[in-house]
């Protein structure tokens, strides 16, 4: 275990706590967010128009057939945090799905999309490796497996590529459904098909448990909700199996990760390889949680940000050659020599 990984683990746990309990921990902020407005007052949504205020204050509505089921936002669902209008603070897929359904005008969304793209251009897919709450839960499952001495299951490259195609498929279907039910003719289906991906997302079932709140985990009121419930269970099972036996296989399929991955090449955070230092030992390919091997294969100096890379810098950590792999931020090295020197194993000496 090296310092960079320890840092990442601490960051993940702190992020999880903040995402789940943030609203409780910083209660004094409540006053300020009550009155929070958009960053751009001119783009403030007219009252009653934009539909974030459709939610009851402090809760999110899961329309399920006739009776609406209400689930609290933090500490129940980390997916969105959006009191009384203001900035959308939500999972990007959640954001797109609901706004497609409500047919929000693009000018109201533009500041948020810009912010998202800006963050993506700076940090790339770092969200997945360092913040994502269900990624943290999954990493804990992986940790359990390692302690229980169960060998890692490695998946072939084709399988992983097919997974990401599946992810794109699911994303397109979910966004298409969201668009269709936004049309006036199909508005009556809104109460069944609202946020279709979110209904089966494992985060919906896992995250409320941290807030000691029972998620809406069984809903057999109508045929559609039954289908969604069963699908959600299957997806949860797959999620647990994927993280327990593999490392981050799941993340190849996650639509949020896929959206983030478009910005990975050319992001501010860069992985750089100096080919002359490489002795082809394969540690970087072997330890990669996403099973990526390009870092190992390349024989030329350069920045190798791959689409699926979650920027965990594990490869930088385990590389036995000093200066071979480096993490950079806009071309500048971010490791200071002392900070990322290994702690327990053989010391890297400059």
């Amino acid at each position: 275990m090296n310092k960079i990984t320890i840092t990442r683990r601490i960051f993940q746990v702190v992020s999880l706590i903040l995402l789940v309990y943030g609203a409780y921990i910083f209660k004094e902020w409540k006053g300020s967010y009550e009155t929070e407005q958009s960053f751009f007052p001119s783009l403030q949504a007219p009252a009653g128009k934009i539909s974030t205020t459709q939610f009851e204050k402090g809760s999110i509505l899961w329309p399920s057939g006739a009776t609406p089921v209400i689930e609290n936002y933090p500490p129940s669902l980390v997916c969105r945090f959006n009191p009384k209008g203001g900035l959308f603070k939500a999972c990007i897929l959640h954001f797109f799905s609901e706004n497609l359904t409500w047919q929000t005008q693009i000018k109201y969304l533009l500041p948020y999309i810009t912010l998202f793209i800006l963050l993506c251009f700076i940090f790339g897919r770092m969200w997945c490796g360092w913040v994502c709450p269900i990624g943290t839960v999954g990493d804990f499952l992986t940790f359990l497996r390692r302690k229980m001495n169960i060998p890692l299951r490695r998946f072939p490259q084709n399988f992983r590529m097919n997974l990401s195609f599946t992810g794109y498929g699911i994303m397109v279907i979910a966004l298409a459904i969201s668009t269709i039910i936004g049309m006036p003719n199909f508005a009556r289906y809104q109460c069944y098909w609202f946020l279709p991906y979110c209904q089966i997302c494992p985060a919906r079932l896992i995250c409320p448990m941290f807030g000691l709140i029972k998620p809406n985990w069984k809903d057999f009121s109508t045929g559609i909700t039954t289908t969604f419930t069963i699908l959600a269970w299957i997806v949860l099972g797959l999620f647990i199996a994927a993280f327990y036996f593999g490392r981050r296989v799941w993340c190849h399929m996650c639509p949020v990760g896929l959206i983030n991955s478009w910005f990975n090449k050319g992001a501010g955070v860069e992985l750089h390889k100096k080919a002359i230092k490489c002795i082809k030992c394969g540690y970087c390919a072997d330890c990669c949680p996403m099973g990526l091997t390009k870092m190992y294969e390349m024989n030329k100096d350069g920045i190798y940000n791959q689409n699926a890379c979650i920027m965990c810098f594990r490869c930088v950590d385990v590389c036995p050659r000093e200066d071979c792999l480096t993490a950079r931020f806009f071309g500048k090295r971010i490791q200071s020599k002392d900070f990322f020197r290994r702690t327990k194993d053989a010391k890297k000496i400059p």
Partner: protein, 416 residues
């Protein structure tokens, strides 16, 4: 599983060469001279260990002895099974002559001297010998030694590509681990593996310190001492080696003067230098060059990489061992010439060395065959390069000295 070679003819062969047995050569006087070229009092442990080993006193250890060749055999697995690993690579003129009874004259000198040692009964107390199938002579060695001792043959394949072969290597190492556990009735798991890896990682840490110190000031620990420490690690207990080497390092770094080494610093690459055959070091030092760094499988290739423990499961540990020992290996038997060239250029640039000496032991073809390519590649980077080919005998010492002196003069002109 362990394979029995020459099972049917074992007795006949054993009896046929019985006349060789009982020859015990004492350590030669020339070798003793090499042991005395030191200023560091802490080296005493290593000298004593070598003298003990060469006079067969060493076999008093309580743990069963397991011999092996090459750095691709996982020492950590042998240590984890509570056995004592001994690397048997040997380049001794005296044993070579003994070995020529069994093996032909124009064959790898390591095989000849090892055959000499085995057929003379020098290694009688070994329980088992692990022979890797890295090069052709080693492969045949497995069969040649099989009438005398139990052999485990470990074949890593010749392609050092992680993507193609990682699973195969893992399976082979696991088989080896299972075999040792069964053979010696010892139950070892990941705890033992981890503690073995920590021992070798500790050794790597100390070795890196020594390596760094020598690149700055080669006189701090002179080349003879350095290679003697390397040779002692073949058979010494790893904990004892760590403690003694740490002492040597502390002694050397405390005395280190700021004065830089006046002689041109060179990198020694190529065939490994093993104890009694220190002719090449002797000649290099006497002709006014100093060996500041080396890239050889006995020292750099074996010690420089740590075992990076990524997954602490048993299979994860075994996989990490394969990566350290096979994928990261610099053995020219595997497909890794580019890595070798990169390493040489990188080391020369990083430590500001003046030139490269590429040492070919005669009849070791794998090192010899890549010399021309390395020379051309280094030309592009403007690194002075000399390749020499020599054997175990001391006849060409004067000739070599002339060549090295010419090389030294060239380096001095080059550096101006």
């Amino acid at each position: 599983m362990q394979k029995k070679f020459l099972d049917r003819y074992r007795e006949t062969i054993f009896k046929g060469f019985a006349s060789n047995r009982g020859i015990v050569n004492n350590i030669s006087s020339e070798s003793i001279e090499y042991l005395q070229e030191t200023e560091n009092p802490c080296m005493e442990t290593f000298y004593q260990a070598i003298i003990d080993f060469e006079t067969k006193k060493f076999v008093d250890t309580e743990k069963p002895l397991v011999g092996y060749f090459c750095s691709i055999v996982p020492e950590e697995i042998i240590i984890a099974c509570s056995l004592h690993p001994v690397r048997l690579c040997c380049e001794d003129q005296i044993w070579t002559q003994a070995g020529e009874e069994v093996s032909p004259g124009d064959i790898c000198p390591v095989v000849k001297s090892v055959c000499g040692k085995f057929y003379s009964g020098f290694y009688d107390k070994f329980e088992i010998v692990v022979v890797p199938g890295t090069c052709d002579p080693k492969t045949k060695l497995a069969e040649m030694l099989s009438p005398l001792i139990d052999i485990y043959f470990l074949d890593p394949g010749r392609d050092a590509d992680y993507l193609k072969n990682a699973d195969i290597w893992e399976r082979k190492y696991r088989d080896f681990f299972d075999f040792l556990k069964k053979r010696f009735n010892y139950s070892a798991g990941r705890k033992e593996l981890i503690s073995a890896c920590q021992k070798t990682n500790k050794r790597t840490e100390i070795f890196r310190k020594i390596y760094q110190l020598r690149t700055k000031n080669p006189d701090a620990i002179n080349s003879f001492d350095y290679y003697i420490m390397i040779y002692a690690s073949f058979f010494m207990d790893i904990d004892l080696w760590n403690i003694s080497a740490e002492k040597v390092y502390k002694e050397a770094s405390a005395k280190e003067d700021k004065r830089t080494c006046g002689r041109p610093k060179v990198l020694l690459a190529g065939t490994p230098v093993i104890f009694p055959n220190f002719k090449i070091i002797d000649v290099i030092e006497k002709s006014g060059l100093s060996i500041a760094a080396d890239i050889q499988c006995t020292s750099f290739g074996r010690f420089y990489n740590p075992v990076e423990i990524d997954e602490e499961t048993e299979s994860g540990l075994i996989r990490a061992l394969t990566l350290k020992n096979i994928a990261g290996s610099i053995c020219p038997c595997l497909l890794n010439l580019e890595k070798m060239i990169n390493l040489i250029i990188d080391t020369v640039k990083k430590y500001n060395l003046d030139g490269v000496i590429y040492y070919n032991l005669r009849l070791c073809q794998v090192f010899d065959i890549q010399t021309a390519i390395i020379r051309q590649a280094l030309k592009q980077e403007n690194v002075p390069f000399i390749s020499i080919k020599t054997d175990l005998s001391k006849e060409d010492t004067g000739q070599l000295k002339t060549r090295f002196e010419a090389f030294r003069e060239m380096l001095e002109i080059h550096s101006k």
